[in-house]
């Protein structure tokens, strides 16, 4: 078990952009209370117990992000990374604590196809309008976004016909078409090919250099080390470690290596 490290002390001059203050996220989920296989379940249709299970996805996490930092978020599957990112973006309500930020963070998440039955181009337009841009601004951007995504031949097809890689490219391109003060990229690039991954990582570094703050959730330690100057490790809803990328990634590798060798 890696040692828990305290959150880094703020330096006097740095400007905070995101403050996560003792955030708890709890989901209340109706569990079926019944095993899927007949032998294990037993009993008739009405014998199942409907249980309301509380799942604590995040159990009290605090940290402060300063201007120009790009933060890698690592942790095992189901450790609460995506829940925390959605809470930072204000898309999932927190059950306790609060998230503060200087601007509304933009989340680029996995599988968030806007409207699968509409063409890529119409999704670009709708996404832009929802974010409050004028139709004129969006029309000027459509070609640029299509080109960055490399989807010129498919932009008029419904998004449900796109491969997961293609829709990930389009979503990233929509979000990256503008500079965001705070951008959260949640594994959205995991399904992209090598060439697009390099292009998107270059774009993220560019945004970071323009004083934007970036959160990158990834299982690729190489992407994290290439893009981030700070890494936060979350495990089962707890903050395990926060600090220098190489140190945290080494500790995480040691942890996962240890559990898989049991």
């Amino acid at each position: 078990m890696a040692a828990k490290t305290k959150t880094q002390q703020p330096s006097k001059s740095a400007v905070p952009v995101v403050v996560v203050d003792d955030v708890h996220i709890t989901y209340k989920v109706f569990s079926s209370g019944r095993r899927a296989t007949r032998a294990a379940a037993g009993g008739g249709i009405f014998s199942r117990k409907l249980g309301l299970r509380e799942v604590n996805a995040i159990k009290g996490v605090s940290f402060t992000i300063y201007e120009g930092e790009s933060v890698g978020i690592i942790g095992s599957n189901g450790s609460g990374k995506s829940s925390l990112m959605r809470a930072i973006a204000g898309l999932t309500p927190v059950s306790k604590g609060a998230v503060f930020s200087s601007a509304r963070p933009t989340l680029l998440g996995v599988g968030a196809v806007l409207l699968p039955n509409l063409s890529g181009e119409k999704n670009i337009v709708l996404g832009g309008l929802a974010l409050g841009f004028s139709r004129k601004q969006i029309e000027a951007d459509v070609d640029k976004i299509t080109e960055f995504a490399g989807l010129q031949d498919f932009i008029d097809l419904p998004m449900r016909t796109y491969s997961s890689g293609m829709s990930a490219r389009l979503r990233f391109s929509i979000a990256a078409s503008r500079d965001h003060e705070i951008l959260i990229v949640d594994e959205a690039l995991a399904v992209g090919d090598q060439e697009f991954r390099q292009r998107s990582e270059a774009r993220m570094r560019e945004m970071r250099d323009r004083a934007g703050s970036l959160f990158l959730v990834s299982h690729s330690m190489q992407s994290i080390l290439d893009t981030c100057n700070r890494v936060i490790w979350i495990e089962k809803g707890d903050l395990m470690m926060d600090g220098d990328p190489q140190t945290v990634v080494d500790a995480y590798n040691k942890f996962t290596g240890a559990t898989s060798n049991d």
Binding site: V19, V20, A98, F100, L115, L118, L129, L131
Partner: protein, 282 residues
């Protein structure tokens, strides 16, 4: 110093906090184009897989009207209200506008989870967009109604123009209704199971294919209560304007205006109150 104080001191704002009511309305208004575009695109996508495409917008109400005409006009031919076909079509088409708004309002948030989970915008735009979609689908039905009126009765009167404010009042009422349904359905999904039955009951009790005044002429007290049913008010008002042999009254106009304003204001406030909670995955 606590982290929260530290954050406030640096001018950071709480993420996802519900904006003040007037700010919220202003934000929603400035993004009204989104609601229109979403309604238009969703309509296009809904018909894209059908071979006849957009023609269904006209075909569907025609088939619907023919079926109702058959059932209520031929099979239940006794005791029909005066000027039956225009009476029936006015009722059915306007009822569809209201019931469609309630139904699509109830699914406005749940059927757009992709949008809710990935973009931050005033959620009220989703039920608003649902009503705009219903309105766009009602326009061809109203066209069909006007054609029917010309075919079945003589002459066009200036009163027909008053259909415009009537449909406008209905739309305002529907907006409020859709917002209320959207919040209830987002928090208690089970309501979607009961909604079809509620709509059926309203269909039979709002005097769509029979005259309530005629049927309940011996029970004036029940009739008086039913006269406050907003669905009945809007449909009676429209009939009074365009169907020969029916009259509007000051009572109908006042209740129509009252229902529109009260439902809309209650709907916006009710929906806004829970703004922070939409999109919760439970």
């Amino acid at each position: 110093m606590s982290l929260a104080d530290f954050a406030r001191e640096h001018g950071l704002k709480r993420v996802g906090a519900r904006p003040a009511f007037l700010d919220y309305v202003a934000q929603a208004w400035s993004r009204r184009d989104f609601a229109f575009t979403l309604a238009k695109f969703t309509n296009e996508a809904a018909n894209a897989k059908n071979r006849l495409g957009r023609w269904w917008v006209i075909l569907l109400p025609t088939v619907q009207a023919m079926v109702y005409g058959l059932i209520f006009g031929v099979l239940m031919a006794r005791d029909r209200p005066e000027n039956f076909i225009p009476f029936l079509f006015t009722g059915v088409f306007l009822f569809t506008f209201i019931s469609g708004s309630a139904t699509s309002g109830a699914t406005a948030l749940t059927s757009n989870t992709g949008l809710v989970r990935s973009l931050a915008f005033p959620r009220v735009l989703l039920p608003v967009s649902a009503v705009i979609r219903q309105f766009l689908n009602t326009l061809p039905q109203l066209g069909l109604l006007l054609i029917t009126l010309v075919l079945f009765q003589q002459g066009i009167t200036w009163n027909w123009l008053l259909l415009v404010p009537t449909v406008a009042l209905m739309s305002v009422f529907n907006l409020g209704l859709a917002m209320i349904m959207a919040r209830i359905a987002a928090q208690v999904q089970d309501i979607n199971k009961l909604l079809p039955f509620v709509i059926r009951i309203l269909f039979y009790t709002s005097g769509i294919f029979f005259s309530m005044d005629h049927l309940l002429r011996n029970h004036p007290e029940i009739l008086a209560v039913l006269h406050f049913n907003p669905i009945y008010d809007y449909i009676e008002l429209a009939r009074g304007l365009v169907v020969q042999g029916y009259q509007t009254s000051a009572f109908l106009w006042l209740t129509a205006i009252g229902w529109a304003l009260v439902t809309f204001v209650v709907g916006v406030l009710f929906f806004w109150k829970a703004e922070e909670r939409y999109g919760r995955e439970d």
